[in-house]
Symmetry: C2
Subunit: 527 residues, 2 copies
């Protein structure tokens, strides 16, 4: 990877959990720091939003990680800071020889990274990011990798669900003020990958080459009123300055009694000047009802194309509910519900950028193989249950498509396996020994390997895709996903299966590693 | 404020919602950009964690905001980016004269900022941050202010609750891998202010002058086993390298059957060398039960001071539950529960740094006064209810202490008021006209103004306190808070009251601003 000087401590190589560094020193001291290993990054369960659970996730964050890993290295200042930390006994915690190694070779330029591309649909247990290379840097990378990818997957997934419930109408990401500090940028990026069309976050939007979007705040209208003017004076000032982008916030005083009529008046003035108004924004009250009533007023005034932007604590469930209410309420006012829905734009804030009610993704980073005496040795860590026990070894993942072109399962197998050569595929359930599925080769239209090699021993071998490519990947993957899996509530469970070879390897390792039955009561109590 | 060149777009002055800039241009065009205004930042409700709600919050984030506001300004690159954005009609959205102004005066060096100090206990409706100065920069600052303070308050509050449920035992912040990307740093900072004693986040910890803390990962033990060794080999290697900081993770293989006995063996070896082991960490299973059993084993081996670090999705409720179970289970194994609890250390990750189940604080930033014809004119924005209608005008806040020295109420009043001069204070309920409380002056031991002026017209007039001072402020405030308010579940409601003068002003402005009853159906429907 290209090497740059390390940044400030807070965003440089010290952006890591402290134990990564103490463990790295231990590996250095016992001569294991350069030992080739493999870590898999994956998540175990779909996000659970309390009353409903996701049926799929959308990958995001890899680009941010790759950029970080390429540009960061331990600098003299970092090493000086570490060198000054004392042990409890008062001596330095880190020895000079280790710090010298950290300065020279503690960066990530020796690692190879394979990953599922950003924007792709992903499922539990499937390795999303696979890191291979010397033990010490691969271990140190864990904190940043989990930090950068887990969050963005959570947001990209939420954005995809919101875009789905919004019936593909435009979605604007407005969450900066409730984002977790500096995460506003990574959150906006992930939202744009997952389903948001635009963001109000000016800096990151411009950096990604997307025009930032926004409307206006209540304080604008309030200010004009406080200075002795009226709502319409604020609207006129806005229309004068932005005649081609005139979108008016109509709920500051009284939406139907004042806001919409005033907006209509200003829109008529714009029309006389040959300009086409953009629309209105509703930010409070019964959004579905106010949408229908406002649409009727705008129609009557001859502005059937004026958009209606909705905002106020929206998420996929609220949007679904608003649309459902519009469908039943529009005809009462003589409107075609589809025409009303076609003019909607959704401004989504807090609940997207914080992925509220499932504010983190439990992605983990597990050691799955170690190079030993010239061979890769698969490793396993027993856990409370077989579901939680990571799948060992160097693996491949394939996505199988049925004859309709829909994704039917993700299949985990071992490197070297080729599911395409079998006339019948056995798809093992990942944790239940007695459950499997037999699929004939002719039922499968395509077998697609999911992991792409991005970095080989520090060298970029495949460029991380631009934003638009990640969005295209997301759209294509969602098209190939069964409707039942995309359902917002109680979705079909997508199959993530194993080959028999991987299943057998896992069982063998579990049997070999498990302590004898009389070793202690703890294990049984935990099961 | 000191001026530095603007940073990269993502973290520089473009870290703002786009509408702030389009509104600023409007203010510029109509000549209002320099008009003195006041914005109040406050929150309306305590965080609600689903099954329980907070009874107080802890302020944090101000230091981060002040540092940002002082160091950031629009640079040529920012202005060039904005200048290239087209309107829908194709012409530039931003005019050259506005961009020139932005470059010259669009920074925050003209603003005055008063605020409740970091670490102080805060309550709903109380202005936490008050910004006064020219309209355009005060408006642009909104996004960064809300972004930086809302999140840190959420985390500092959670940290205080966790520290409380942990009975003041050490709390370690371990959440970097589930934090929202770059927010890991601000989150760790807020946790340290609110109640965490240390963090595993190396960079921010060192920057704040606190030694970072950590233990070891399962992968360390797993690696030794994979290479043909055993758990105890990993423990020994760790003890050899860190004889004065030996803390061993004992749940990789079998906690009671292998982990604790092996740890005891290694601790005995350390003791022979004259070293004192630090303790063990439990990261899975029935933590309370395993704590009691491990404590018994450590006691028996002569290590009654060895710490037991607990981790695994902890939050205040789980910690409370673990301690409750230890209290009932320790005597069964012949142990004094208090002695067991005294050796506990809590490692808290996801649920602290994401403030899980209340992952954002709904802090808002509202225009409360405008300078007009040489006088401050209070402003109001009507909302769905009086509870949601911001308190108008330039206000002061006092905290009243009773004769025990406990905080009895926060009192909002108007600038120029002095509650100390009255022999009887009338504390008005903030939304119920018929509810008030009369307090005699002699019942009040102290009347403390809560807002501190930090910045006057861009000049720092009071330095933001160092981390240790904020922690001292938090400890002192929590000591002065009634036990009932600190209760984790169903806390007493702390009184936030108004003076009669502020109450009367608010009612007058509401009456003046409210549309006539027949103006539309919308208002009534919203009420």
């Amino acid at each position: 990877m290209r090497k740059k000087a390390g940044g400030t401590p807070a965003f440089g190589a010290l952006f890591t959990d402290f134990y990564q560094l103490t463990m790295a020193q231990l590996y250095f001291k016992v001569g294991l720091h350069g030992r080739p290993v493999q870590f898999d990054h994956f998540f175990r369960e779909y996000p659970d939003y309390g009353s409903h659970q996701a049926g799929y996730c959308v990958n995001a964050g890899l680009g941010t990680l790759l950029e970080w890993a390429r540009s960061v290295r331990f600098c003299r200042k970092d090493v000086k800071i570490l060198g000054a930390l004392p042990s409890r006994g008062g001596k330095p915690l880190f020895a000079r020889d280790f710090l010298r190694w950290l300065l020279a070779d503690g960066d990530f330029s020796s690692l190879s990274i394979r990953a599922v591309p950003e924007g792709r649909v992903i499922h539990p247990q499937v390795p999303i990011t696979v890191v291979r290379g010397p033990l010490a840097p691969a271990q140190i990378l864990e904190s940043a990798l989990l930090n950068k990818i887990n969050y963005q997957v959570a947001v990209a997934t939420r954005a995809a669900r919101i875009k789905f419930s919004a019936r593909n109408r435009p979605v604007l990401e407005f969450g900066m003020r409730r984002a977790h500090g500096a995460a506003a940028d990574e959150g906006a990026r992930a939202a744009l990958i997952g389903g948001a069309d635009f963001t109000s976050n000016t800096g990151i939007s411009c950096r990604l080459g997307i025009p930032p979007k926004g409307t206006q705040a209540h304080s604008l209208i309030q200010l004009f009123i406080s200075l002795g003017g009226e709502e319409i004076d604020a609207f006129r000032a806005y229309a004068d300055l932005y005649p081609d982008d005139c979108l008016l916030l109509v709920d500051t005083v009284d939406t139907l009694g004042s806001g919409v009529p005033n907006a209509v008046r200003v829109f008529e003035e714009l029309r006389k000047k040959g300009r086409r108004p953009l629309g209105i924004r509703l930010d409070s009250g019964d959004l579905a009802h106010l949408t229908v009533r406002s649409a009727a007023m705008l129609d009557q005034a001859g502005f059937p194309d004026a958009a209606i932007v909705l905002s106020n604590q929206l998420d996929e469930m609220l949007i679904w509910q608003i649309i459902t209410q519009i469908v039943s309420e529009a005809p009462v006012y003589g409107l075609d519900p589809d025409r009303v829905i076609e003019r909607l734009i959704f401004g989504v804030g807090t609940r997207l950028i914080t992925s509220e009610s499932a504010s983190s993704l439990g992605g983990v980073y597990k050691l799955t193989a170690v190079r030993h005496q010239g061979e890769w040795r698969p490793t396993i860590k027993l856990s409370d249950s077989i579901d939680k026990t990571p799948n060992p070894g160097n693996k491949n993942v394939w996505r199988l498509y049925d004859r309709r072109g829909k994704a039917m399962a993700d299949l985990l197998g071992l490197e070297g396996e080729d599911p395409g050569v079998h006339s019948r595929l056995i798809l093992r359930h990942p944790s239940d020994a007695d459950t499997y599925r037999v699929v004939r080769r002719e039922e499968i239209s395509r077998i697609e390997p999911l992991l792409q090699e991005y970095v080989r021993e520090g060298k970029e071998v495949f460029p991380p895709p631009a934003l638009e490519e990640t969005r295209e990947a997301r759209r294509a993957d969602l098209d190939r996903l069964d409707d039942g899996v995309k359902r917002l509530v109680n979705p079909h469970i997508y199959h993530v299966s194993m080959t028999s070879r991987l299943w057998d390897l896992k069982q063998e390792l579990i049997a070999r590693t498990r302590p004898p039955l009389n070793a202690g009561v703890n294990r049984e109590e935990k099961l």
